[in-house]
Amino acid sequence: MATEYLDLDDAFDAYAEAVEVSVDRAKDALLNLGQLESALARPQNAGAYENADIVRQGATLLWGVAANHPFAMATNAPLSFYSGLSST
């Protein structure tokens, strides 16, 4: 079965749900679009070039969002949420 990866809209939806704000507020909380895109691309790269399984891809996403810090506030909640979604 092919893996579906989170895109930007998913990331904003997930952030909005995680911190219980609107999607517009989630977009306002974004500090750096490039850093978010980079974090979201990490699982695909890990899968394609490092043969990472789905668990490692989830961990890669978690680490990417943590290291890149693309949002202005409330990092922990969306972080844990992203990693959970990646294995859904």
């Binding site: 092919a2 939806d13 922990n76 909640a77």
Partner: protein, 161 residues
């Protein structure tokens, strides 16, 4: 099945074996020895072998002509698929055409999405992809958030401190 212009009828027996061996050697020469066994096996199913770029009558193909051959492919016989497909340029992209038999076997139709990758053995793998609609993705996110609401609130509270 109509015989393409310039194609060589394989016939059967020694003639088929000779032509298949000739083309297989050429492919191995161009693409590497690793392809030889695979190509030999595929040629065994071909009704015709189409040779272009020779500049001579295909029936006169000999080993000395091999370096002049630019394209060799087979035409399917029965349910056998094409052995060799040319990669061609369309605009700025390189395109490979999938034969209808392959599409039918893979249960693919026009408009379907596939994800290409190259495995460790160097084979190109096309994997069918199902894209979940946006609303369904939102529902998955909502349900996951609802499931973990207590934990998310504690984490959000921690972040605000």
């Amino acid at each position: 099945m109509a015989r393409p212009p310039g194609s060589v009828s394989c016939g059967s027996g020694a003639r088929r074996s000779a032509i298949a061996e000739l083309c297989s050697r050429w492919i191995a020469h161009r693409w590497g020895q690793a392809q030889l066994t695979h190509v030999r096996a595929r040629f065994a199913f071909a009704s015709h072998i189409h040779v272009t770029g020779l500049g001579v009558d295909p029936d006169l193909v000999s080993p000395s002509c091999l370096t002049d051959v630019t394209t060799v492919y087979t035409v399917a016989a029965g349910d056998a698929s094409m052995a060799v497909i040319h990669v061609r340029k369309v605009g700025n992209s390189s395109v490979v055409t999938l034969p209808p038999e392959v599409l039918a076997q893979a249960n693919l139709r026009d408009g379907d999405l596939v994800q290409p990758r190259v495995d460790r053995a160097g084979r190109i793998v096309l994997e069918a992809v199902t894209v979940t609609p946006r609303e369904a993705r939102r529902a998955i996110i909502r349900n996951a958030a609802r499931r973990d609401r207590a934990v998310l609130r504690r984490l959000a509270e921690y972040d605000r401190k």
